[in-house]
Symmetry: C2
Subunit: 329 residues, 2 copies
């Protein structure tokens, strides 16, 4: 796929949000900031109206500081308990009902039956695979995709797009364009796996953290501090691969794998690591070199340091001690 | 331990750095910025001098932007291959030789024999337990502790302090004060476990990421993007526990565990999660409530959103697209 295609944006003009909880309200706020009209379906419209109104109050100042669309209207929303009405004229339907497979299958089949076959239907599911989600849809199941956001939806740009077994490449490209139109970074996941990509990574860290608490090694506060004051600072600029690429010195990832590869055999976590085969090494090294895009490790380090300096100056205004709370550690 | 004790700082006046690689040079730069004099021991002094000089050139502008000590002198360092000379008069010795247990044991025993019993000896080991490290020391093994920093050492504040079986509480407190004196956040780890705390968390994420690459699910770039544009943004402010506390709505962590606890049984990672017993739930919930320090979830959310807004405005100047590179995703 060319970069041009990847960059295409198509702002949805009208989004239907199915389920008005925290995630649904987050989607609604993001869409409003992008200048899109929002129609929310929920079984309890009164409570949802109150919740959404409050959510927009909270989200709007932050979104305004990020930049609103010129035609953004924070009042361009309505709530209904009539599904037909909610999805009428929508060019994107986003489902956010509770995380139960049968419920989602049924709701998605109901939506599929009601909207034109070219309307994209995204599900915010954290972990259910899209082919399972689309199982009861009969009209155009290929347009039912996972579109998994991250909390707070109105600020975090990541959305994971996972097509089902009937989803065409054109639909995936259309989905990318639509979510870009909402100001997001759509990551198209090529395989259907439990938890997609991001939640698997977060879960791995979370499970290890739970083991540490369970084994009495550390408190939740100590574990959080170990993230916040260390690796977490780097993870907003670089993921784990590019971070370790820089830990390898001028030789980058290949040297890093030589040096720290043996640690994969050590009981450093409760999780068994994969065998570090030549093929896996080559794949990881090639990936990092592609990401580096010709920049030397020294150049990447310089950029990282400039970022970290700005970031440290920023987070000191937000870390607990800035509030006069005792230092965490 | 009272907060007053925790906050104590004692700037070391002279630090001996044993081993002048990337980590050793990082320690040296940090110490110089704090106004401390630095003596580096390395078997190859000429190469080390060149490397350290370059490292200081790179680190100094970033450290200057963070704030130097009034008496900081970027030239207050020397390199020698004479261990006696390197450690003479040091009030902190920091060992950074290659990560081989026998080598570190031998070097640490050599240092222990040469310095007064009240001089703290910190090892930068990523994963070796301190009691093992101190095994060959005979003079005052209790003052040999793990003091594990994070790359780049001159910017990231976290240092994990792990005492060995002979380390007194007074020594731990003294170690905290010394590393605070170098502008760091010392996290005292209460148990000796492989990988301490932070590396276990990073390793868990890293191992899962390697599985994803190995299974052909995603490229390194896609996995990094899943961190950078999503969870990574939150992790510089809050760790995994406080983040999930906020994902639980007004009920916080307890509600979150009710809602997403069952996912621990799902194959979302290659890592098996611990059983979510009532005791573990209580421990996690109590930890988060302590961290919240009386602030409601809504207050914490407001603070998080203000931070994320500033951070997003910052990282956009550093993410690849700011350099005119194609979007990662």
């Amino acid at each position: 796929m060319s970069d041009t295609v990847k960059q295409q944006q198509t702002r949805p003009e009208r989004v239907a949000i199915i389920g008005g909880g925290v995630i649904g309200c987050g989607w609604a706020a993001r869409a409003l900031a992008a200048g899109t009209r929002v129609s929310v379906y929920d079984v309890d419209p009164d409570a949802t109206r109150a919740r959404l109104s409050q959510a927009i109050d909270i989200a709007w100042p932050a979104m305004a500081q990020r930049g609103l669309a010129p035609d953004a209207d924070r009042h361009a929303w309505s709530v209904t308990n009539d599904l037909d009405q909610a999805v009428a004229d929508a060019d994107l339907v986003q489902e956010n009902v509770p995380e139960r497979t049968e419920l989602k299958q049924s709701v998605l089949a109901d939506i599929d039956a009601r909207v034109a076959p070219d309307v994209l239907i995204g599900s915010s599911t954290s972990g259910i695979k899209p082919t399972e989600l689309a199982a009861h849809a009969t009209k155009a199941p290929g347009r039912i995709v996972v579109a998994h956001p991250f909390n707070p939806v109105y600020l975090l740009p990541l959305v994971e797009i996972v097509g089902n077994s009937a989803t065409s490449q054109a639909t995936r490209t259309h989905a990318q364009a639509l979510y870009r139109g909402l100001g997001m970074k759509p990551l198209v996941v090529r395989a259907e796996i439990e938890g997609h990509i991001a939640d698997r990574l977060m879960e791995a860290l979370w499970r290890e953290a739970l083991h540490l608490v369970n084994d009495g090694v550390a408190t939740t506060e100590e574990i959080d501090a170990a993230v916040v004051y260390g690796a977490g600072l780097r993870w907003s600029l670089m993921g784990t691969f590019l971070t370790f690429h820089l830990a390898g010195g001028e030789q980058g990832m290949r040297h890093m794998l030589e040096q720290f590869g043996p640690a994969l055999k050590l009981p450093w976590t409760k999780l068994e690591a994969p065998e570090l085969t030549d093929e896996l090494i080559d794949r990881v090294v090639a990936g990092c070199e592609h990401q580096a895009a010709g920049r030397s490790v020294a150049e990447l380090e310089h950029r990282r340091d400039a970022f970290l300096t700005d970031l440290l100056n920023l987070v000191e205004r937000y870390w607990p001690e800035a509030e006069g709370l005792p230092d965490r550690i």
